[in-house]
Protein backbone atom coordinates (compact mmCIF):
# COMPACT_ATOMS: atom_id res chain seq x y z
CA UNK A 1 0.00 0.00 0.00
CA UNK A 2 1.36 3.42 -0.89
CA UNK A 3 0.90 6.53 1.20
CA UNK A 4 -1.58 7.84 -1.34
CA UNK A 5 -3.76 4.79 -0.76
CA UNK A 6 -3.63 5.33 2.97
CA UNK A 7 -4.70 8.92 2.53
CA UNK A 8 -7.90 8.04 0.68
CA UNK A 9 -11.09 8.85 2.54
CA UNK A 10 -12.59 6.05 4.58
CA UNK A 11 -14.39 3.78 3.69
CA UNK A 12 -12.13 2.94 0.81
CA UNK A 13 -13.68 1.06 -2.07
CA UNK A 14 -11.68 -1.98 -3.12
CA UNK A 15 -9.81 -1.78 -6.41
CA UNK A 16 -11.02 -4.18 -9.06
CA UNK A 17 -8.03 -6.50 -8.60
CA UNK A 18 -8.25 -6.49 -4.82
CA UNK A 19 -11.96 -7.22 -4.95
CA UNK A 20 -11.52 -10.05 -7.45
CA UNK A 21 -8.86 -11.56 -5.23
CA UNK A 22 -11.04 -11.34 -2.16
CA UNK A 23 -14.05 -12.79 -3.89
CA UNK A 24 -11.88 -15.63 -5.23
CA UNK A 25 -10.67 -16.40 -1.70
CA UNK A 26 -14.24 -16.19 -0.42
CA UNK A 27 -15.40 -18.57 -3.13
CA UNK A 28 -12.79 -21.06 -1.98
CA UNK A 29 -13.77 -20.70 1.68
CA UNK A 30 -17.53 -20.19 1.47
CA UNK A 31 -18.81 -21.69 -1.78
CA UNK A 32 -18.85 -25.31 -0.52
CA UNK A 33 -21.12 -24.39 2.37
CA UNK A 34 -23.21 -21.99 0.28
CA UNK A 35 -23.74 -24.68 -2.37
CA UNK A 36 -24.32 -27.39 0.26
CA UNK A 37 -26.96 -25.31 2.00
CA UNK A 38 -28.63 -24.34 -1.29
CA UNK A 39 -28.64 -28.01 -2.29
CA UNK A 40 -30.75 -28.91 0.67
CA UNK A 41 -32.98 -25.88 0.20
CA UNK A 42 -33.73 -26.27 -3.49
CA UNK A 43 -33.03 -29.99 -3.81
CA UNK A 44 -31.07 -30.21 -7.04
CA UNK A 45 -27.48 -29.53 -7.93
CA UNK A 46 -27.99 -27.45 -11.06
CA UNK A 47 -30.24 -24.93 -9.33
CA UNK A 48 -27.97 -24.84 -6.26
CA UNK A 49 -24.88 -24.09 -8.32
CA UNK A 50 -26.69 -21.52 -10.43
CA UNK A 51 -27.96 -19.72 -7.31
CA UNK A 52 -24.51 -19.85 -5.69
CA UNK A 53 -23.06 -18.16 -8.74
CA UNK A 54 -25.83 -15.55 -8.62
CA UNK A 55 -24.93 -14.88 -4.99
CA UNK A 56 -21.28 -14.22 -5.79
CA UNK A 57 -22.11 -12.12 -8.85
CA UNK A 58 -24.44 -10.06 -6.68
CA UNK A 59 -21.65 -9.77 -4.10
CA UNK A 60 -19.19 -8.37 -6.63
CA UNK A 61 -21.68 -5.82 -7.94
CA UNK A 62 -22.79 -4.73 -4.51
CA UNK A 63 -19.33 -4.63 -2.94
CA UNK A 64 -17.84 -2.74 -5.86
CA UNK A 65 -20.34 0.00 -5.15
CA UNK A 66 -20.58 -0.12 -1.35
CA UNK A 67 -17.34 -1.74 -0.20
CA UNK A 68 -16.99 -5.20 1.33
CA UNK A 69 -19.01 -5.67 4.52
CA UNK A 70 -17.29 -6.59 7.80
CA UNK A 71 -18.73 -10.05 7.68
CA UNK A 72 -18.86 -11.06 4.02
CA UNK A 73 -19.58 -14.70 4.88
CA UNK A 74 -22.77 -13.69 6.66
CA UNK A 75 -23.73 -11.49 3.70
CA UNK A 76 -23.27 -14.44 1.33
CA UNK A 77 -25.30 -16.78 3.56
CA UNK A 78 -28.14 -14.28 3.95
CA UNK A 79 -28.25 -13.51 0.23
CA UNK A 80 -28.21 -17.21 -0.65
CA UNK A 81 -31.04 -17.82 1.81
CA UNK A 82 -33.04 -14.99 0.27
CA UNK A 83 -32.53 -16.30 -3.26
CA UNK A 84 -33.44 -19.83 -2.17
CA UNK A 85 -36.67 -18.70 -0.50
CA UNK A 86 -37.53 -16.63 -3.56
CA UNK A 87 -36.96 -19.64 -5.80
CA UNK A 88 -38.99 -22.00 -3.60
CA UNK A 89 -41.85 -19.51 -3.38
CA UNK A 90 -41.99 -18.94 -7.10
CA UNK A 91 -41.85 -22.66 -7.78
CA UNK A 92 -44.44 -23.54 -5.17
CA UNK A 93 -46.73 -20.61 -5.91
CA UNK A 94 -47.17 -22.20 -9.30
CA UNK A 95 -48.49 -25.24 -7.58
CA UNK A 96 -50.72 -23.17 -5.36
CA UNK A 97 -49.43 -24.76 -2.22
CA UNK A 98 -47.80 -21.82 -0.52
CA UNK A 99 -50.31 -19.34 -1.89
CA UNK A 100 -53.02 -21.11 0.06
CA UNK A 101 -50.94 -21.36 3.20
CA UNK A 102 -49.82 -17.77 2.81
CA UNK A 103 -53.38 -16.51 2.53
CA UNK A 104 -54.44 -18.09 5.78
CA UNK A 105 -51.28 -18.06 7.92
CA UNK A 106 -48.53 -15.75 6.74
CA UNK A 107 -46.55 -16.29 9.93
CA UNK A 108 -46.46 -20.05 9.62
CA UNK A 109 -45.34 -19.80 6.03
CA UNK A 110 -42.20 -18.03 7.14
CA UNK A 111 -41.82 -20.49 9.96
CA UNK A 112 -42.26 -23.48 7.67
CA UNK A 113 -39.67 -22.10 5.28
CA UNK A 114 -37.22 -21.47 8.10
CA UNK A 115 -37.13 -25.15 8.85
CA UNK A 116 -36.38 -25.97 5.23
CA UNK A 117 -33.86 -23.20 4.93
CA UNK A 118 -31.80 -23.32 8.14
CA UNK A 119 -30.68 -26.86 8.78
CA UNK A 120 -27.53 -28.29 10.18
CA UNK A 121 -24.47 -27.18 8.21
CA UNK A 122 -22.58 -30.42 8.91
CA UNK A 123 -25.43 -32.42 7.41
CA UNK A 124 -25.55 -30.13 4.41
CA UNK A 125 -21.84 -30.55 3.72
CA UNK A 126 -22.02 -34.29 4.20
CA UNK A 127 -24.96 -34.42 1.79
CA UNK A 128 -22.94 -32.48 -0.80
CA UNK A 129 -19.99 -34.86 -0.39
CA UNK A 130 -22.21 -37.92 -0.74
CA UNK A 131 -23.72 -36.45 -3.87
CA UNK A 132 -20.34 -35.63 -5.48
CA UNK A 133 -19.13 -39.17 -4.74
CA UNK A 134 -22.39 -40.82 -5.76
CA UNK A 135 -22.10 -44.43 -7.00
CA UNK A 136 -23.95 -43.63 -10.25
CA UNK A 137 -20.94 -41.54 -11.31
CA UNK A 138 -17.71 -42.84 -12.84
CA UNK A 139 -14.58 -42.54 -10.67
CA UNK A 140 -13.24 -39.73 -12.89
CA UNK A 141 -16.49 -37.81 -12.60
CA UNK A 142 -16.57 -38.24 -8.82
CA UNK A 143 -13.08 -36.78 -8.37
CA UNK A 144 -13.72 -33.85 -10.69
CA UNK A 145 -17.10 -33.00 -9.16
CA UNK A 146 -15.78 -33.33 -5.60
CA UNK A 147 -12.82 -31.03 -6.24
CA UNK A 148 -15.08 -28.48 -7.88
CA UNK A 149 -17.99 -28.48 -5.43
CA UNK A 150 -16.53 -29.60 -2.11
CA UNK A 151 -13.08 -28.01 -2.42
CA UNK A 152 -14.33 -24.91 -4.21
CA UNK A 153 -11.86 -25.20 -7.11
CA UNK A 154 -12.58 -23.65 -10.49
CA UNK A 155 -12.86 -25.88 -13.55
CA UNK A 156 -9.46 -24.55 -14.65
CA UNK A 157 -7.92 -25.49 -11.29
CA UNK A 158 -9.35 -29.00 -11.52
CA UNK A 159 -8.04 -29.33 -15.08
CA UNK A 160 -4.59 -28.16 -14.03
CA UNK A 161 -4.55 -30.56 -11.10
CA UNK A 162 -5.34 -33.52 -13.33
CA UNK A 163 -3.13 -32.31 -16.23
CA UNK A 164 -6.25 -32.51 -18.39
CA UNK A 165 -7.50 -29.85 -20.83
CA UNK A 166 -10.10 -27.58 -19.23
CA UNK A 167 -12.81 -28.31 -21.83
CA UNK A 168 -12.47 -32.03 -21.06
CA UNK A 169 -13.00 -31.40 -17.36
CA UNK A 170 -15.86 -28.98 -18.03
CA UNK A 171 -17.54 -31.62 -20.15
CA UNK A 172 -16.94 -34.28 -17.52
CA UNK A 173 -18.62 -32.11 -14.90
CA UNK A 174 -21.59 -31.29 -17.15
CA UNK A 175 -22.02 -34.99 -17.90
CA UNK A 176 -21.78 -35.86 -14.21
CA UNK A 177 -24.52 -33.39 -13.37
CA UNK A 178 -26.65 -34.78 -16.18
CA UNK A 179 -26.12 -38.30 -14.84
CA UNK A 180 -27.18 -37.21 -11.35
CA UNK A 181 -30.27 -35.49 -12.76
CA UNK A 182 -31.18 -38.49 -14.93
CA UNK A 183 -30.88 -40.81 -11.93
CA UNK A 184 -33.05 -38.31 -10.03
CA UNK A 185 -30.43 -37.97 -7.29
CA UNK A 186 -31.66 -35.32 -4.88
CA UNK A 187 -30.09 -33.94 -1.77
CA UNK A 188 -30.19 -36.70 0.83
CA UNK A 189 -28.29 -38.33 3.62
CA UNK A 190 -28.07 -42.06 2.98
CA UNK A 191 -30.07 -44.35 5.25
CA UNK A 192 -28.12 -46.01 8.06
CA UNK A 193 -28.01 -49.31 6.17
CA UNK A 194 -26.37 -47.65 3.16
CA UNK A 195 -24.16 -45.24 5.05
CA UNK A 196 -21.09 -47.44 5.42
CA UNK A 197 -20.95 -48.31 1.72
CA UNK A 198 -21.47 -44.66 0.76
CA UNK A 199 -18.72 -43.54 3.14
CA UNK A 200 -16.43 -46.17 1.62
CA UNK A 201 -17.11 -44.61 -1.78
CA UNK A 202 -16.22 -41.14 -0.44
CA UNK A 203 -12.99 -42.40 1.12
CA UNK A 204 -12.11 -44.10 -2.14
CA UNK A 205 -12.42 -40.78 -4.00
CA UNK A 206 -10.24 -39.01 -1.42
CA UNK A 207 -7.56 -41.71 -1.52
CA UNK A 208 -7.64 -41.77 -5.32
CA UNK A 209 -7.10 -38.01 -5.50
CA UNK A 210 -4.31 -38.28 -2.94
CA UNK A 211 -2.56 -41.07 -4.82
CA UNK A 212 -2.89 -39.31 -8.14
CA UNK A 213 -0.89 -36.53 -6.52
CA UNK A 214 1.42 -38.68 -4.39
CA UNK A 215 2.67 -41.03 -7.06
CA UNK A 216 1.94 -39.13 -10.24
CA UNK A 217 1.45 -41.88 -12.78
CA UNK A 218 2.04 -39.58 -15.74
CA UNK A 219 4.06 -36.52 -16.50
CA UNK A 220 7.50 -35.31 -15.69
CA UNK A 221 7.12 -34.79 -11.95
CA UNK A 222 7.43 -37.35 -9.22
CA UNK A 223 4.43 -36.04 -7.31
CA UNK A 224 1.91 -33.24 -7.50
CA UNK A 225 1.50 -31.45 -4.23
CA UNK A 226 -1.67 -29.59 -5.23
CA UNK A 227 -3.69 -32.78 -5.54
CA UNK A 228 -2.29 -34.10 -2.26
CA UNK A 229 -3.29 -30.84 -0.56
CA UNK A 230 -6.87 -31.11 -1.84
CA UNK A 231 -7.13 -34.72 -0.69
CA UNK A 232 -5.85 -33.73 2.75
CA UNK A 233 -8.41 -30.93 2.93
CA UNK A 234 -11.18 -33.38 1.98
CA UNK A 235 -9.94 -35.94 4.49
CA UNK A 236 -9.98 -33.37 7.29
CA UNK A 237 -13.46 -32.22 6.28
CA UNK A 238 -14.80 -35.76 6.31
CA UNK A 239 -13.14 -36.51 9.65
CA UNK A 240 -14.73 -33.38 11.16
CA UNK A 241 -18.12 -34.39 9.75
CA UNK A 242 -17.95 -38.01 10.95
CA UNK A 243 -15.73 -37.71 14.04
CA UNK A 244 -16.31 -41.23 15.37
CA UNK A 245 -15.76 -43.09 12.13
CA UNK A 246 -12.52 -45.04 12.62
CA UNK A 247 -11.94 -45.77 8.94
CA UNK A 248 -12.20 -42.08 8.05
CA UNK A 249 -9.71 -41.32 10.83
CA UNK A 250 -7.59 -44.15 9.46
CA UNK A 251 -7.66 -42.66 5.97
CA UNK A 252 -6.78 -39.22 7.30
CA UNK A 253 -3.94 -40.63 9.42
CA UNK A 254 -2.67 -42.55 6.40
CA UNK A 255 -2.58 -39.62 4.01
CA UNK A 256 -1.21 -37.19 6.60
CA UNK A 257 1.60 -39.60 7.47
CA UNK A 258 2.37 -40.20 3.80
CA UNK A 259 2.22 -36.49 3.03
CA UNK A 260 4.59 -35.79 5.92
CA UNK A 261 7.33 -37.24 3.68
CA UNK A 262 6.47 -35.28 0.53
CA UNK A 263 9.25 -32.70 0.91
CA UNK A 264 11.86 -35.40 1.48
CA UNK A 265 10.84 -37.49 -1.52
CA UNK A 266 12.53 -35.31 -4.11
CA UNK A 267 16.21 -34.49 -4.48
CA UNK A 268 17.60 -31.16 -5.71
CA UNK A 269 17.21 -32.17 -9.37
CA UNK A 270 13.69 -33.53 -8.99
CA UNK A 271 14.84 -37.12 -8.73
CA UNK A 272 12.97 -39.42 -6.36
CA UNK A 273 14.52 -40.06 -2.97
CA UNK A 274 13.05 -43.26 -1.64
CA UNK A 275 11.93 -43.87 1.89
CA UNK A 276 15.06 -45.24 3.51
CA UNK A 277 17.33 -42.62 1.91
CA UNK A 278 15.24 -39.65 2.94
CA UNK A 279 16.53 -36.89 5.17
CA UNK A 280 14.12 -37.38 8.06
CA UNK A 281 14.69 -33.86 9.33
CA UNK A 282 12.70 -32.77 6.27
CA UNK A 283 9.67 -34.79 7.32
CA UNK A 284 6.74 -32.67 8.38
CA UNK A 285 6.50 -33.01 12.17
CA UNK A 286 3.07 -31.40 12.42
CA UNK A 287 1.53 -33.88 9.97
CA UNK A 288 3.24 -36.78 11.76
CA UNK A 289 1.93 -35.57 15.09
CA UNK A 290 -1.59 -35.32 13.65
CA UNK A 291 -1.35 -38.76 12.06
CA UNK A 292 -0.16 -40.41 15.28
CA UNK A 293 -2.86 -38.59 17.28
CA UNK A 294 -5.56 -39.90 14.94
CA UNK A 295 -4.19 -43.43 15.31
CA UNK A 296 -4.42 -43.03 19.10
CA UNK A 297 -7.97 -41.83 18.71
CA UNK A 298 -8.85 -44.92 16.63
CA UNK A 299 -7.51 -47.06 19.44
CA UNK A 300 -9.58 -45.15 22.02
CA UNK A 301 -12.72 -45.55 19.93
CA UNK A 302 -12.11 -49.32 19.78
CA UNK A 303 -13.94 -51.54 17.34
CA UNK A 304 -12.49 -53.23 14.29
CA UNK A 305 -9.46 -51.81 12.56
CA UNK A 306 -9.99 -51.41 8.82
CA UNK A 307 -7.57 -51.39 5.92
CA UNK A 308 -6.88 -47.63 6.00
CA UNK A 309 -6.08 -47.70 9.72
CA UNK A 310 -3.78 -50.70 9.18
CA UNK A 311 -1.93 -48.92 6.40
CA UNK A 312 -1.70 -45.85 8.61
CA UNK A 313 -0.22 -48.00 11.37
CA UNK A 314 2.41 -49.17 8.87
CA UNK A 315 3.19 -45.59 7.85
CA UNK A 316 3.43 -44.73 11.56
CA UNK A 317 6.21 -47.32 12.02
CA UNK A 318 8.31 -45.30 9.58
CA UNK A 319 7.29 -41.99 11.14
CA UNK A 320 8.35 -43.18 14.60
CA UNK A 321 11.79 -44.41 13.50
CA UNK A 322 14.42 -41.73 14.09
CA UNK A 323 16.69 -43.32 11.44
CA UNK A 324 16.02 -45.84 8.68
CA UNK A 325 17.98 -48.39 10.73
CA UNK A 326 15.53 -48.01 13.62
CA UNK A 327 12.55 -49.14 11.54
CA UNK A 328 10.56 -51.90 13.23
CA UNK A 329 10.30 -54.18 10.16
CA UNK A 330 8.95 -57.10 12.14
CA UNK A 331 5.99 -55.01 13.23
CA UNK A 332 5.51 -53.75 9.68
CA UNK A 333 5.56 -57.34 8.43
CA UNK A 334 2.95 -58.33 11.02
CA UNK A 335 0.76 -55.38 9.99
CA UNK A 336 1.08 -56.39 6.32
CA UNK A 337 0.14 -59.94 7.27
CA UNK A 338 -3.01 -58.46 8.84
CA UNK A 339 -3.69 -56.28 5.80
CA UNK A 340 -3.19 -59.22 3.41
CA UNK A 341 -5.71 -61.24 5.45
CA UNK A 342 -8.22 -58.35 5.47
CA UNK A 343 -7.90 -57.15 1.87
CA UNK A 344 -5.90 -59.70 -0.08
CA UNK A 345 -4.46 -58.21 -3.27
CA UNK A 346 -1.30 -58.66 -5.33
CA UNK A 347 -0.15 -55.12 -4.50
CA UNK A 348 -0.50 -55.71 -0.76
CA UNK A 349 1.36 -58.99 -1.28
CA UNK A 350 4.16 -57.12 -3.05
CA UNK A 351 4.54 -54.73 -0.14
CA UNK A 352 4.37 -57.63 2.30
CA UNK A 353 7.25 -59.18 0.35
CA UNK A 354 9.28 -55.98 0.65
CA UNK A 355 8.71 -55.78 4.41
CA UNK A 356 9.41 -59.45 4.90
CA UNK A 357 12.71 -59.13 3.05
CA UNK A 358 13.67 -56.29 5.37
CA UNK A 359 12.72 -58.21 8.49
CA UNK A 360 13.86 -61.71 7.56
CA UNK A 361 16.19 -61.36 4.54
CA UNK A 362 15.84 -61.19 0.72
CA UNK A 363 15.14 -64.92 0.18
CA UNK A 364 12.08 -64.74 2.46
CA UNK A 365 10.94 -61.71 0.45
CA UNK A 366 11.50 -63.40 -2.91
CA UNK A 367 9.35 -66.33 -1.74
CA UNK A 368 6.42 -63.92 -1.53
CA UNK A 369 7.27 -61.72 -4.53
CA UNK A 370 8.15 -64.24 -7.25
CA UNK A 371 4.72 -65.98 -7.37
CA UNK A 372 3.24 -62.57 -8.23
CA UNK A 373 4.71 -62.81 -11.75
CA UNK A 374 2.06 -65.47 -12.42
CA UNK A 375 -0.79 -63.13 -11.46
CA UNK A 376 -2.35 -61.70 -14.66
CA UNK A 377 -3.22 -58.32 -13.13
CA UNK A 378 0.43 -57.76 -12.21
CA UNK A 379 1.62 -58.11 -15.79
CA UNK A 380 3.04 -54.78 -16.87
CA UNK A 381 3.21 -53.44 -13.31
CA UNK A 382 6.65 -51.83 -13.19
CA UNK A 383 6.96 -51.85 -9.38
CA UNK A 384 6.89 -55.66 -9.30
CA UNK A 385 9.96 -55.74 -11.51
CA UNK A 386 11.58 -52.93 -9.55
CA UNK A 387 11.16 -54.86 -6.30
CA UNK A 388 12.24 -58.18 -7.81
CA UNK A 389 15.32 -56.45 -9.24
CA UNK A 390 16.14 -55.16 -5.81
CA UNK A 391 15.73 -58.47 -4.05
CA UNK A 392 17.85 -60.33 -6.63
CA UNK A 393 20.44 -57.62 -6.37
CA UNK A 394 20.59 -58.03 -2.61
CA UNK A 395 20.80 -61.77 -3.03
CA UNK A 396 23.84 -61.18 -5.23
CA UNK A 397 22.28 -62.26 -8.53
CA UNK A 398 23.07 -59.20 -10.67
CA UNK A 399 22.07 -60.76 -13.99
CA UNK A 400 18.51 -61.44 -12.79
CA UNK A 401 18.41 -58.02 -11.14
CA UNK A 402 19.45 -56.21 -14.33
CA UNK A 403 16.76 -57.91 -16.40
CA UNK A 404 14.06 -56.82 -13.95
CA UNK A 405 15.31 -53.23 -13.73
CA UNK A 406 15.29 -52.92 -17.51
CA UNK A 407 11.75 -54.25 -17.68
CA UNK A 408 10.65 -51.84 -14.97
CA UNK A 409 12.24 -48.96 -16.92
CA UNK A 410 10.39 -49.94 -20.09
CA UNK A 411 7.03 -50.11 -18.30
CA UNK A 412 6.85 -46.99 -16.14
CA UNK A 413 5.11 -43.88 -17.48
CA UNK A 414 7.02 -41.63 -15.11
CA UNK A 415 10.16 -40.06 -16.62
CA UNK A 416 11.99 -39.73 -13.33
CA UNK A 417 11.31 -43.30 -12.31
CA UNK A 418 12.46 -44.56 -15.71
CA UNK A 419 15.89 -42.99 -15.42
CA UNK A 420 16.30 -44.38 -11.89
CA UNK A 421 15.58 -47.90 -13.14
CA UNK A 422 17.96 -47.47 -16.08
CA UNK A 423 20.71 -46.30 -13.76
CA UNK A 424 20.24 -49.29 -11.53
CA UNK A 425 20.29 -51.65 -14.51
CA UNK A 426 23.62 -50.19 -15.69
CA UNK A 427 25.02 -50.48 -12.18
CA UNK A 428 24.04 -54.14 -12.17
CA UNK A 429 25.89 -54.70 -15.45
CA UNK A 430 29.12 -53.71 -13.74
CA UNK A 431 28.14 -55.57 -10.57
CA UNK A 432 28.47 -52.34 -8.60
CA UNK A 433 24.93 -51.54 -7.62
CA UNK A 434 25.19 -49.97 -4.23
CA UNK A 435 21.50 -49.16 -3.94
CA UNK A 436 20.90 -52.71 -2.81
CA UNK A 437 17.96 -52.14 -0.60
CA UNK A 438 14.57 -53.60 -1.40
CA UNK A 439 12.55 -50.93 0.37
CA UNK A 440 14.11 -48.35 -1.94
CA UNK A 441 12.19 -49.72 -4.87
CA UNK A 442 8.90 -49.59 -3.10
CA UNK A 443 6.87 -46.49 -3.78
CA UNK A 444 5.84 -46.01 -0.18
Amino acid sequence: MTEDDAAEPFPRLPSEDALDQRVAALWRVESPRVIARLMRQVGDLDTAEELAQDVFVAAIERWRADGVPDNPAAWLTTTARYLAIDRIRRRDTGRGKYRLVAASQPQSLEHGLDEVVDGDLAEDLLGLIFMSCHPVLSPDARSALTLKLVCGLSTDDVARAFLTPAPTIAQRIVRAKRTLAAANVRFELPAESERRARLDAVREVIYLVFNEGYSATTGAQWFRGDLCAEALRLGRMLAALTPDDTETLGLLALIELQASRLRARTGPDGEPVLLLDQDRSRWDRLLIQRGLANLDRIEQLGGTVGPYALQAAIAACHARAATAGDTDWERITALYDGLAALTPSPVVELNRGVATAQAFGPPAGLDIVLPLFDVPSMRGYHLLDAVAGDLWCRSGDHAQAREHFLRAASMTGNDVERSTMQRRASACATGHDVENDPARSSSQ
Binding site: A25, D70, L121, A122, A229, R233, R236, L241, R263
Partner: protein, 122 residues
Amino acid sequence: MRYMVMHYQTQDMEDGIPSTAEEQAAIGQYMQEAAMSGVLLSGEGVSSSSKGARVEVQDGTVRVIDGPFAEAKELIAGFAILEVDSLAEAVEHARKWAQIVGTHRVDVRKVVEVEDLVPPQG
Protein backbone atom coordinates in the same frame (compact mmCIF):
# COMPACT_ATOMS: atom_id res chain seq x y z
CA MET B 1 1.05 -23.03 2.52
CA ARG B 2 0.58 -22.51 6.21
CA TYR B 3 -0.38 -19.45 8.14
CA MET B 4 -0.29 -18.88 11.86
CA VAL B 5 -3.29 -16.87 12.94
CA MET B 6 -2.73 -15.23 16.32
CA HIS B 7 -5.35 -13.29 18.23
CA TYR B 8 -4.65 -10.72 20.90
CA GLN B 9 -6.04 -10.65 24.40
CA THR B 10 -8.93 -8.58 25.59
CA GLN B 11 -8.84 -7.09 29.08
CA ASP B 12 -11.51 -9.63 30.10
CA MET B 13 -9.32 -12.51 28.96
CA GLU B 14 -6.39 -11.07 30.95
CA ASP B 15 -8.61 -10.61 33.99
CA GLY B 16 -9.68 -14.23 33.75
CA ILE B 17 -13.34 -13.31 33.33
CA PRO B 18 -14.95 -16.44 31.89
CA SER B 19 -16.85 -15.97 28.66
CA THR B 20 -20.63 -16.27 28.76
CA ALA B 21 -22.39 -19.44 27.74
CA GLU B 22 -23.43 -17.81 24.46
CA GLU B 23 -19.87 -16.70 23.72
CA GLN B 24 -18.59 -20.19 24.43
CA ALA B 25 -21.24 -21.71 22.21
CA ALA B 26 -20.33 -19.33 19.39
CA ILE B 27 -16.64 -20.17 19.75
CA GLY B 28 -17.41 -23.89 19.85
CA GLN B 29 -19.48 -23.57 16.72
CA TYR B 30 -16.75 -21.60 14.99
CA MET B 31 -14.13 -24.22 15.86
CA GLN B 32 -16.39 -26.95 14.52
CA GLU B 33 -16.94 -24.98 11.32
CA ALA B 34 -13.23 -24.31 10.93
CA ALA B 35 -12.58 -28.04 11.32
CA MET B 36 -15.27 -28.75 8.72
CA SER B 37 -13.54 -26.46 6.24
CA GLY B 38 -10.55 -28.84 6.37
CA VAL B 39 -7.91 -26.15 6.86
CA LEU B 40 -7.31 -26.27 10.62
CA LEU B 41 -4.13 -28.15 11.55
CA SER B 42 -3.57 -27.10 15.11
CA GLY B 43 -4.37 -24.44 17.65
CA GLU B 44 -4.07 -23.49 21.30
CA GLY B 45 -5.16 -20.73 23.61
CA VAL B 46 -3.25 -19.38 26.60
CA SER B 47 -4.29 -18.31 30.10
CA SER B 48 -4.00 -14.88 31.68
CA SER B 49 -0.44 -13.54 31.85
CA SER B 50 -0.66 -13.78 35.66
CA LYS B 51 0.01 -17.50 35.19
CA GLY B 52 3.04 -16.91 32.96
CA ALA B 53 6.45 -15.30 32.89
CA ARG B 54 8.58 -13.33 30.50
CA VAL B 55 12.25 -13.82 29.72
CA GLU B 56 13.99 -10.63 28.66
CA VAL B 57 17.50 -10.25 27.35
CA GLN B 58 19.20 -6.88 27.47
CA ASP B 59 22.87 -6.44 26.62
CA GLY B 60 23.40 -10.14 27.17
CA THR B 61 21.82 -10.13 30.60
CA VAL B 62 18.83 -12.42 31.05
CA ARG B 63 16.02 -11.28 33.30
CA VAL B 64 12.93 -13.29 34.19
CA ILE B 65 9.80 -11.34 35.04
CA ASP B 66 6.76 -13.09 36.45
CA GLY B 67 3.30 -12.14 35.15
CA PRO B 68 0.91 -10.40 35.11
CA PHE B 69 2.04 -7.86 32.55
CA ALA B 70 0.72 -4.43 31.79
CA GLU B 71 -0.60 -3.74 28.30
CA ALA B 72 -2.86 -6.80 28.25
CA LYS B 73 -3.98 -5.89 24.74
CA GLU B 74 -0.45 -6.34 23.41
CA LEU B 75 -0.36 -9.99 24.48
CA ILE B 76 -1.14 -13.01 22.32
CA ALA B 77 -4.14 -15.01 23.53
CA GLY B 78 -3.87 -17.99 21.21
CA PHE B 79 -2.98 -19.26 17.79
CA ALA B 80 -4.21 -21.53 15.04
CA ILE B 81 -2.25 -23.03 12.17
CA LEU B 82 -4.15 -23.12 8.89
CA GLU B 83 -3.26 -24.92 5.69
CA VAL B 84 -4.59 -22.75 2.87
CA ASP B 85 -3.80 -21.64 -0.69
CA SER B 86 -3.17 -17.99 -0.14
CA LEU B 87 -2.86 -15.16 2.34
CA ALA B 88 -6.29 -13.97 1.17
CA GLU B 89 -7.84 -17.28 2.19
CA ALA B 90 -6.17 -17.20 5.62
CA VAL B 91 -7.42 -13.64 6.10
CA GLU B 92 -11.03 -14.67 5.45
CA HIS B 93 -10.74 -17.28 8.21
CA ALA B 94 -9.04 -14.78 10.53
CA ARG B 95 -11.75 -12.20 9.89
CA LYS B 96 -14.47 -14.55 11.12
CA TRP B 97 -12.41 -15.63 14.09
CA ALA B 98 -11.73 -12.03 15.10
CA GLN B 99 -15.43 -11.26 15.16
CA ILE B 100 -16.39 -14.41 17.07
CA VAL B 101 -13.70 -14.16 19.73
CA GLY B 102 -14.22 -10.43 20.20
CA THR B 103 -10.59 -9.44 19.99
CA HIS B 104 -9.33 -6.12 18.67
CA ARG B 105 -6.55 -7.65 16.57
CA VAL B 106 -5.57 -10.84 14.79
CA ASP B 107 -2.19 -11.25 13.12
CA VAL B 108 -1.92 -13.53 10.09
CA ARG B 109 1.67 -14.66 9.50
CA LYS B 110 3.13 -17.10 7.02
CA VAL B 111 4.74 -20.14 8.60
CA VAL B 112 8.34 -20.64 7.46
CA GLU B 113 8.62 -23.90 5.52
CA VAL B 114 11.76 -25.95 4.95
CA GLU B 115 11.84 -24.64 1.37
CA ASP B 116 12.11 -21.08 2.67
CA LEU B 117 15.30 -21.99 4.51
CA VAL B 118 17.19 -23.56 1.61
CA PRO B 119 19.68 -21.04 0.24
CA PRO B 120 19.06 -20.23 -3.44
CA GLN B 121 21.13 -22.39 -5.82
CA GLY B 122 23.99 -20.84 -7.81
